[in-house]
Symmetry: C2
Subunit: 210 residues, 2 copies
Amino acid sequence: MKQFNILTLDTLPSRYRANLINSCTGYKSLNLIGTQSKSGSQNLAIFNSIIHLGSQPALIGFTSRPLSTQRDTYDNIRDTGVFTVNHAQKDLIANAHQTAAKYPSTTSEFEAAGLSPEYLGAHKAPFVKESTIKYSCTYVNEYEIKENGCIMIVGAIQELYVPEQLIAKDGWINLVEAATVAGIGLDGYVLGKKVTRYEYAQPHLAPKIL
Amino acid sequence: MKQFNILTLDTLPSRYRANLINSCTGYKSLNLIGTQSKSGSQNLAIFNSIIHLGSQPALIGFTSRPLSTQRDTYDNIRDTGVFTVNHAQKDLIANAHQTAAKYPSTTSEFEAAGLSPEYLGAHKAPFVKESTIKYSCTYVNEYEIKENGCIMIVGAIQELYVPEQLIAKDGWINLVEAATVAGIGLDGYVLGKKVTRYEYAQPHLAPKIL
């Protein structure tokens, strides 16, 4: 067993530490966030920090790194109030990864990464046509994580698209069948296997598979 | 393709909506958070909202539901300033799920769920002995998500334990080999397969597998 502490972590080369700390928090949700600038430039970027915040109202959150450098996704969301979230899926891994490259603001990462923008519903933010689970959000609020300058953006789900055959009778979505990808660290892409669902846990009852 | 919008979502039965919205955000990190009350009662609870916030300093965040009901984990963290995060792994799925049952504050979920507390390092929060990747954190700050009363707790990693054979030369941890589990929705447990890592993405270079 390898042991690190707050002092030894500090002495690690920064890339090693970034890989280690980014991996130790477990699997990450991987999604492509689509936005559009006021002047109509399309933007697409992979994010590994989307979390569920609530289902009534349906709220999600994600963190953006400090605003000290170019942050097209953040700027576009603030300017237009809308964005889309598109699952990174098996056949799209290389494309999704490529959106992380630092392109100029005027370059569409859709085009650069070989993905197709499509507009669905009422909002002017581009979806990824090739992605099979996706939703649009409106900007609701943001919280600055003062400890390091990260911003947590809160969005409200507006329109959600899911292939019908992936939805269980009780609304649960089979992401393994969807071939949705999870992340490890900054650069690892993983498929799921062997889903098990359990019934609602209760004291004095053994866990029971659904 | 099934389409939901903010109006139709509102008309769904609450359990269906909770399953749907909790699944559509992608795979979740699944971890057991270990704490201890001031009077020494041990607590263990599964959380699916841990995220990476930064690696220098090493910060993580997780959300706790509104404080209107009993929240032992939150109370213990505020009272003692420390907690542990332990990966939910393949052989521990049923035990991890069972910690979600509503036990009285004086019941140890370690005991109720058949897991062993162990104390490592300087801090008085119990780890899960059976978990192979785990770390302790000190409480740093919290942010109330005003939109629904959730609390995001920020913790600083103090001591990190990872089996050496799972760590790549560059610090990346192979969670698939670790049999770490990801979550779908509120009750789905998934194993990983087929990891692919990519080199740092650059404009004008095709994505390259590491």
